[in-house]
Amino acid sequence: MARLVIDPVTRIEGHLRCEAVVSDGKVKDAYSSCTMWRGIEIILKGRDPREAWVFVQRLCGVCTTVHAIASIRAVEDALKIKVPRNADLIRNLIMGNQCVQDHVIHFYHLHALDWVDVVSALKADPAKTSELAKSISSWPNNSTTYFKAVQDKLKAFVERGQLGIFSNGYWGHPAYKLPPEANLLAVAHYLEALDWQKEVIKMMAILGAKNPHPQTFLVGGMAIPIDPDSQNAINAGTIAALNKYADMGIEFVEKVYIPDLLAIASFYKDWANYGGNVNFLACGEYPEANGKLWLPAGVIKNKNLKEVYPLDHKKILEYVTRSYYTYSKGDKVGLHPWDGETTPNYTGPKPPYEYLNVDGKYSWGKAPRYEELPMEVGPLARVLVAYASGHKEVKEVADMVMKKLGVGPEALFSTLGRTAARGIIALVTAYKIKDFISELAANIKNGDYKIANTEKWDPKTWPAEAKGMGWHDAPRGALSHYIVIKNKKIENYQMVVPSTWNLSPRDHKGVRGPVEEALVGTPVADSKQPLELLRTIHSFDPCMACGMHMIEVREE
């Protein structure tokens, strides 16, 4: 029995610690702990609900936009504001752009080094790498000369002895299975993706003023005006620029990300046996003109793809039995976010410490449960719910991916499936963005320049008390914000965040959270080099700054 600690878990957002019990080369048990807390929930109390989004957006700069969207939707729900279609379209474009860029960055810069041995790329034959590249894609950077140049750069870098971000990696670990040529291809695309991500995100920079932390969101709509006859508003030039970045997104996902994903996955098919969960929750996203969501909401239980249950936020309860908080009614009860409380109660070891007290409270994250069940959220949940609901675009791409890998839907319930699902969502979203641009252009053509519903902008128009909630299916999964407004001020503000679901500690029954559960059974070749654990942890794309729960302390 070895007790293995990974802290810091790197290539994620925020501060995550993972402790695992390993014996006979397998993970027997695992504990996920969030080790940072800011108390933004307490900071929000008494402020103007219209600016809550500015504050909560700062939960995370990687998931930038997502909390802003959920927040304005929660306030709009509370005040019963219907936003103009153009505002929904601009939001859809910002969300879609964020999703595509975020998933590519995740694959190359946060996840790839778990599968790709950078040092092995030095041994590759550039001519064979070129053949491999041409066999899987028509992406133009595919010549022998090109790969030779990448390899030479890498060589010079390694020979200098300053490996920088690649130092002390797990290079040469037996779990790396790619041939040197595939490693070189992936390293080349790692660098290309770095250049691509800063360009493609300019769609958000145009519509949101900047990235990260765009600043055109507004309760009631968007603060970026539309006027085809003004140089200070969304006009024909803007539409042309949006199309340019939309095409840039499609091209890279189609010709680089998906082919790489399939090529790499084909060497790691055994990872269809590890890292799976059974329950999934997706809240749906991208409002369409008909009022429906383009990607459906729903809940899947026990891997049953034959039945998708409708989603009802009232069935969410949060537990703090094993989290550093205490509830006034005792730590065994679960509370719905509208009735939530947060009283920090740190009972963990005093730093510096070697191990957590995993028999007691051990995380700043709460344990959200849906009908008492832990739920995985994120790209896999989105794909499964859409697939099971017969969603045309998702089904088409998912079937193509499964066919190319020679696996069936059962393989989706795994680390491999989760990683593939992220690519599937990125591709269908990249295509869908074009539809949103066309619809926006058509509205402008028809003389509809409306971007905000300002009827309720003035707090004098608000009721004395109101409460609302907003869903957003963010890149990392289902996100929900809850607000209680009293006397025009925030009385209570709460969030149930994707990483709170996925990285949750045990609950009142001792049931593990999704990541903890997914880690059990993972093979570990060398407990001093926990590469295999990182593969599954990273497949969830953890965001810990978001994940530790945010809740309003009520004044008694």
């Binding site: 800011r38 003004s230 005093k350």
Partner: protein
Amino acid sequence: MERETIYEGLVRKGVSRRDFLKFCASTAAVLGLSSSFVPKIAEAMEKKEKPVVVWLHFQDCTGCSESVLRATKPTIGQIVLDVVSLEYHETIMAAAGHQAEKSLHDAIKKYKGKYLVVVEGAIPTKDGGLYCCIGGRAAVDILKEVAKDAAAIIAIGTCATYGGIPAAKPNPTGAVGVRDIIKDKPVINLPGCPLNVENFTATVVYFLTFGKLPKTDNLGRPLFAHGILIHENCERRGHFDTGEFAKSWGDKGHRLGWCLYELGCKGPFAYHNCPTIRWNDGTSWPVMAGHPCVACSEPKFWDANAPFYAGVENKDGFFAKASKIGLGAMAVAGLTKKENKE
């Protein structure tokens, strides 16, 4: 082994001499230097070894790292592989856990007295700092240890500089900025929520070119980035002076790019170079897009400049500053109001 210079690194990356000089020129522009400084910057890049950088994350949202990932002049690929030697950065480094800790300790030992530390995020000090632990240690202890042998520290973003959002009222974790803890080292403050990457690269280049940290204001912010009010360089300033104000989201004034002061803009109270360098490779910035500035580069802006959508006629000294702020003060007072009607 000779460590390579920045220029060698860029050449190895395939950057042409012409692009290299363009990079030097754009850096000079961000720093507000005349073109006569370009050769000096180029010379420094050719001779200086790559600075070793250790990057610490505390109570942050990673937004400042993400901002740096959007760098275009030079690109992030060039920065990470060629301009600096980034020895520790939790978001992108390959190693985790013990291996990651080893990278940190190796770097601060091997480059003692020479490395730059970048700090992202605030540092909680309440209850012994237990609200942010990495590798089982409190952020405040890690900062002190890593700062001890650093050449200089760059605090990036409003959290690392002034405590930022975790320090907003009532500051539940006792969050503070780097200068509140480290008193015996040069600390340069690069605020912003997030910081604008152009100001980060310009600071590094300034350090390499002139061998010292840039001149700062009394809040430790470089004058090249925070020397002038947003209001003074704002593209909508003319509308303020002539009393042309957007009154409501999507109205005529809003669509025509009129002043956003009455919708809550805090540009008259924020020292930041957004209007001149903009964001994301010069694409846009909040006022250009049509949303008020929230003064994110100012200490305590979460409290001092909120509510973000309210006018600030009552802000201390606003009318006293009228001569500086311009005719708009008269406009606000109703002396030169222009109609904003369809």
